[in-house]
């Protein structure tokens, strides 16, 4: 079931909310938690990757897997709480890694790494396995460290399966949600939380349905053409790469907003996952803002155990590279994800080395100028866009074709009608080899796309983000704002903030309705005869 589907919004959420509060308000908090667990498992089981019949056992395999994963990890966790055993922790972590290894990476290692001609396509990837295994590995490690309080099974099951965060995060830490399950006020309807939760959900829904899905139509054809062997020209390549850069951000941050909003409707505060990542002034800053809960997991359970920065610069850089390579692989079983992770590892190494050099030169890294920040943001954004090309492309060759296009190696082409727009410059551009023609397979969205992209650019770079606008406070209490806001952030801060008023409710109601209509609509893209 998708967050942006009508059955989810109009049936599943209201029914689950109603059941939760009917039970909770009567003092049956354990029953309310059990209800949420059942609802979450229904939500998870509703999804079927293979379109099996209801009677087909394969239809229920992912559901059986997550249930057994919860039970086994809970039992191991209880044992670790009772007896601090390194070997038991090893078994627990190995079981989780084995599950994700078999279901997610078996095909990749057999076919791409070992070059075996083995067909493992029958192994279906259970939805969200990367998320619920990481969450539970963290739980086991913390149980071993003695940082976990003994909890009942039902609370643990809800910590793992709570539907708002189950499919695509945030990767919740047990210390953030389990304590909330023990609070009496969690089970009482709270209209303030409901209003704020709905608002954040609607903002996320609009990011996904209007912005991400809207710009996706300009990204997909360019990547598909490159995959088919076409060599995108300069503007095509840039439009595809930038469109995907914004699509991914608004899609993923929209989904995270929806998760946070849904959690709040149930009086559960989930951690922030995005904090305006494209406003980052360097790659270190980017990873503090992009998929924050994954960065936190990789830092606490991989980078620091590997030694972190404790053994000198070269070991630190090695640890960074290893962490980011594995982080890349976590996103998907393919070489392009490994390259993407490796690139970000390299960026981080360069960034840390640069900071180290500046510190040795006596620079104060906390001070910066406006032009300096603009330059830093531009370089960071450019580096991120280049890496996204590998993240999105199906293979290395397709990514290379797009990158070649982005540096002009595949020529420059614009629609024939643009020739006149360049006025006296047009003949010069012509002489420089620019082509003004409408040819088959030319994927350039033109002015409409440029206007849309400029709007997305403005939203991502200049406007306050969801938590800044609504004042949402994460469970750890940090809203995630920067210590030194930029000029634009100060200007944006002057915009009216979200408040639970009739006007804000009405406006968000219109946005919600528009998104629901978009989810309901089957309208194909407009076909313009005269453009064929």
């Amino acid at each position: 079931m998708l967050f942006n589907s009508l059955p989810f919004i109009l049936v599943f959420v209201p029914v689950t909310l109603l059941g939760f509060y009917l039970l909770g308000a009567r003092g049956h908090s354990r029953a309310a938690v059990a209800w949420l667990v059942l609802a979450s498992l229904f939500f998870y089981g509703y999804w079927d990757p293979g379109e099996h019949a209801l009677t087909d056992p394969w239809r229920w395999w992912p559901l059986a897997l997550i249930c057994s994963s919860v039970v086994v990890n809970y039992l191991i966790g209880q044992q670790l709480l009772a007896r601090r055993s390194k070997s038991l922790l090893g078994v627990g972590v190995a079981l989780n890694l084995a599950a994700i290894g078999v279901f997610k990476y078996a095909g990749f290692f057999a076919n791409d790494v070992l070059q075996l001609a083995t067909d493992l396509s029958y192994i279906l990837l259970p939805l969200a396995i990367s998320f619920f295994t990481f969450q539970q590995i963290a739980y086991l490690v913390d149980a071993y460290r003695g940082e976990v309080r003994a909890e009942g099974f039902i609370n643990y099951a809800l910590f793992v399966t709570f539907f708002p965060q189950l499919i695509a995060g945030p990767i919740v830490h047990h210390s953030e949600t389990i304590p909330q399950f023990g609070k009496r006020e969690t089970y009482r309807p709270n209209l303030d939380h409901l209003a704020l939760g709905i608002s954040i959900f609607v903002i996320g829904l609009a990011k996904k349905v209007v912005l991400a899905d809207g710009i996706a139509v300009y990204a997909s054809p360019v990547f598909a053409a490159a995959q088919a062997g076409a060599e995108p020209t300069l503007f095509e390549a840039w439009s595809g790469a930038l469109a995907y850069t914004f699509q991914l951000y608004f899609d993923f941050s929209g989904y995270s907003d929806m998760a946070i909003g849904l959690g709040l409707m149930f009086n559960i505060r989930l951690p922030l996952n995005f904090n305006s990542p494209y406003k980052a002034v360097n790659i270190i800053d980017f990873w503090r803002r992009w998929h924050i809960t994954l960065s936190r997991f990789l830092r606490d359970y991989l980078y620091i155990p590997l030694g972190g920065s404790r053994h000198g610069p070269s070991r630190r850089y090695t640890n960074l590279l290893v962490t980011m390579l594995l982080g890349g692989l976590w996103h998907g079983a393919g070489w392009t994800f490994v390259i993407w992770g490796g690139l970000h590892g390299l960026y981080l190494v360069i960034n840390h080395a640069w900071h180290g050099l500046r510190r040795r030169l006596g620079h104060d890294l906390s001070r910066s100028t406006f032009p300096g920040r603009v330059l830093a943001r531009s370089i960071t954004f450019l580096a991120v866009v280049v890496a996204w090309v590998f993240f999105r492309a199906e293979d290395f060759d397709a990514a290379n074709r797009i990158l070649a296009g982005m540096i002009g190696l595949n020529g420059v082409q614009l629609p024939a009608s643009y020739y006149g727009l360049f006025g006296p410059l047009a003949p010069t551009l012509d002489a420089l080899g620019w082509v003004f023609a409408d040819t088959d397979g030319f994927h350039f969205g033109g002015i409409t796309m440029a206007v849309f992209m400029a709007a997305l650019f403005g939203i991502a770079f200049l406007l306050p983000n969801t938590q800044e606008w609504t004042g949402y406070i994460a469970p750890n209490g940090e809203p995630g704002t920067r210590a030194e806001p930029s000029l634009f952030e100060r200007l944006a801060a002057a915009l009216p903030r979200w408040r639970p008023t009739l006007v804000h409710g009405s406006l968000l109601g219109v946005v919600l309705c528009w998104c629901l209509l978009a989810a309901f609509a089957q309208t194909p893209s407009e076909f313009l005869y005269f453009q064929f």
Binding site: T501, V511, Y529, F532
Partner: protein
């Protein structure tokens, strides 16, 4: 009342207000004749035809003309009906810029709606044989389209929400009335009672790209779709007439100067239809239309479309009445016959 309660009331008001506002907009535009048809395929020529079909469904339909704009603009439904002397109706279901796989899908869907059909005629050019491997055949949702054409529940306004296209609706609001009456615009939807749309577009109303036509690469999946269509019709006992439409000589001189593309196309069509009951009529070869007969690369002017229609009427009458109708090599012999005439 708490602030949160006011917010929630506002939220409900916002949701219902937008639905109500859109309903008023659709009803208002409809009242003044400025509402385009629901965007089932978001192709004006198809969506508007469905609207006409819903308002005036054909009774006892006998001949279905299905194809791209070549069929839509090339066949005069009313004239053909009298030429064929049918005791039932004719429907021109041509849709602009369809590929052969989409035409097959269209016919498949509408035969369920019109079980009385005895003849299917497809008037086609090279352009229909592009990109079948990449263009999705299913260009509309059949259940919704057939429900809409049948009339009844749900009401028409439901489809305006189901196929919401606010931008297109507003953009077309001041054009649709004109497009429903003119025959001088490429985007005209001024269908005759049989669904045909014979046009007379001035040269300055046709952009160069449409006048010269795109380069064409014949796509093998298109011929497989043609075969599938012929098999489907044979299995249902429906007579299938395939027409190679006239093309503008100037266009062919630019795109196919040595005639090899058209020759290859003829061979492939013949191969695709071999062993089926399909009849092939090569109107391009038989009629040898001059440059002035066309208003763009592929489409005949109104009077010449009537010439083509008369010719098709004769051919269909002769060939479908011939005793060797079910002969396995019929596709090949019919093609040879037309080609011989042209020689």
């Amino acid at each position: 009342m708490s602030a949160a309660s006011k917010f929630l009331i506002g939220l409900l008001a916002g949701v219902s207000g937008l639905v109500l506002g859109l309903a008023v907009l659709f009803l208002g535009l409809d009242a003044v004749g400025a509402l385009k048809a629901p965007a089932f395929a978001n192709r004006l020529s198809f969506d508007e035809k469905l609207r006409v079909l819903r308002a005036d469904p054909p009774q006892n339909l006998k001949a279905l003309f299905a194809g791209s704009s070549t069929t839509l603009h090339g066949v005069d439904g009313e004239l053909l009906r009298s030429e064929l002397g049918l005791d039932g109706e004719v429907l021109n279901l041509g849709v602009q810029d369809l590929r052969v796989n989409q035409i097959k899908f269209l016919v498949d869907v509408f035969l369920d709606q019109f079980p009385t059909v005895t003849h299917v005629v497809m008037v086609s050019t090279l352009l229909d044989y592009k990109d079948c491997g990449s263009v999705e055949a299913k260009f509309f949702q059949p259940e919704d389209v057939l429900d809409y054409v049948s009339g009844g529940w749900p009401p028409e306004i439901y489809y305006y929400f189901r196929y919401l296209d606010l931008q297109g609706t507003l953009k077309r609001a001041n054009q649709i009335g004109h497009l429903r009456t003119t025959i001088h615009d490429l985007e005209s939807v001024s269908f005759d009672p049989y669904g045909s749309l014979l046009l007379d577009v001035p040269r300055n109303g046709v952009i160069d790209r449409v006048w010269d036509g795109d380069p064409i690469t014949l796509d093998p999946p298109c011929y497989r779709s043609l075969r599938a269509l012929a098999d489907l019709l044979r299995d249902q006992g429906i007579s299938f007439v395939y027409v190679i439409a006239p093309m503008r000589p100037g266009y062919l001189a630019g795109r196919d100067p040595d005639g090899s593309l058209l020759a290859e196309h003829r061979t492939r069509v013949r191969a695709a239809l071999a062993g089926t009951d399909a009849i092939v009529v090569d109107a391009h070869a038989a009629l040898d239309m001059p440059e002035e007969a066309f208003f763009d690369a592929y489409h005949l002017k109104r009077d010449k479309a009537q010439t083509l229609t008369r010719y098709l009427g004769e051919q269909i009458t002769t060939l479908t009445a011939a005793p060797e109708r079910s002969h396995p090599s019929r596709a090949g012999s019919a093609l040879s016959q037309a080609a011989t005439r042209a020689d």
